[in-house]
């Protein structure tokens, strides 16, 4: 089955210790997204890639970076995690929206990040 895969499902890191979360997809979608979701809140978009074109949200902290080496993989790097970065990190993918159009975003299972 075509899907979005995230690894690891649970990640524990120490305050200030860099961490990388990974996402892969078998849907062959052009667009990949990273969201942060805290308890009982809506997902918050951090950035997205349209193919290799990186699009950062204005309020995404500089502490968060991303890489997309190819169509299938995307990584989220948190350079110096703080306690406030503990959250669920969701990867999603979609096809092309087209001018004025839309396309469904499909989410992975998420990575729960704990910062000690």
């Amino acid at each position: 089955d075509a899907m979005v895969i995230q690894n690891p499902r649970y990640q524990v890191t120490q305050f200030g210790k860099p961490v990388t979360l990974s996402c892969s997809q078998t849907l062959n979608h052009n667009v990949m997204y990273w969201y942060q979701q805290k308890s009982s809140q809506a997902p918050k978009l951090l950035f997205h890639y349209y193919d290799k074109d990186f699009n950062n949200e204005a309020d995404t902290p500089d502490n968060f970076q991303s890489r997309r080496p190819n169509t299938s993989f995307c990584f989220l790097d948190i350079r110096s995690p703080g306690l406030g970065d503990a959250a669920m990190y969701l990867c999603a993918t979609s096809g092309l929206a087209g001018v004025g159009g839309t396309d469904t975003q499909y989410f992975g299972p998420g990575t729960r990040l704990t910062v000690l």
């Binding site: 009982s40 809506a42 349209y50 669920m88 979609s94 839309t102 499909y106 299972p109 998420g110």
Partner: protein
């Protein structure tokens, strides 16, 4: 500013007790409205996309409807396995091509 409001925040139902969840939105125009189901500790699972007022979609015990200002997710004769948080998301016209506006969700608990 685009706004998406879901109500109620939480809904407790007895098995078999049908009910509706509301998603009201204030956007300059609509490209599409999405419903997702999210189980605790998991990513959102896609349910429906609605594009224009009057559109309806069904899947098992769920039915989604859309008007110009709101969408409803009707749960008919729910079962305990329908317990989850249901998220509504809107893709507004005028936004960048790929950003959705999410509501905070409605958490549904169905008791046997």
């Amino acid at each position: 500013e685009d706004q998406v409001t879901q109500s109620p925040e939480a809904l407790r139902l007895q098995e078999g007790e049908s009910s509706s969840l509301n998603c009201s939105y204030t956007v300059s125009g609509l490209r599409g409205l999405f419903w997702y189901r999210q189980d605790p500790g998991k990513g959102p699972e896609f349910l429906f996309t609605l594009y224009s007022a009057g559109e309806e979609k069904e899947k098992e015990r769920l039915k989604a409807t859309l008007t110009k200002k709101e969408s409803f997710l009707h749960i008919t004769a729910p079962k305990p396995e329908d317990s989850a948080t249901y998220l509504c998301a809107v893709h507004p016209k005028g936004s960048n091509d790929y950003k959705l506006s999410f509501g905070a969700g409605t958490t549904v608990t169905v008791r046997a």
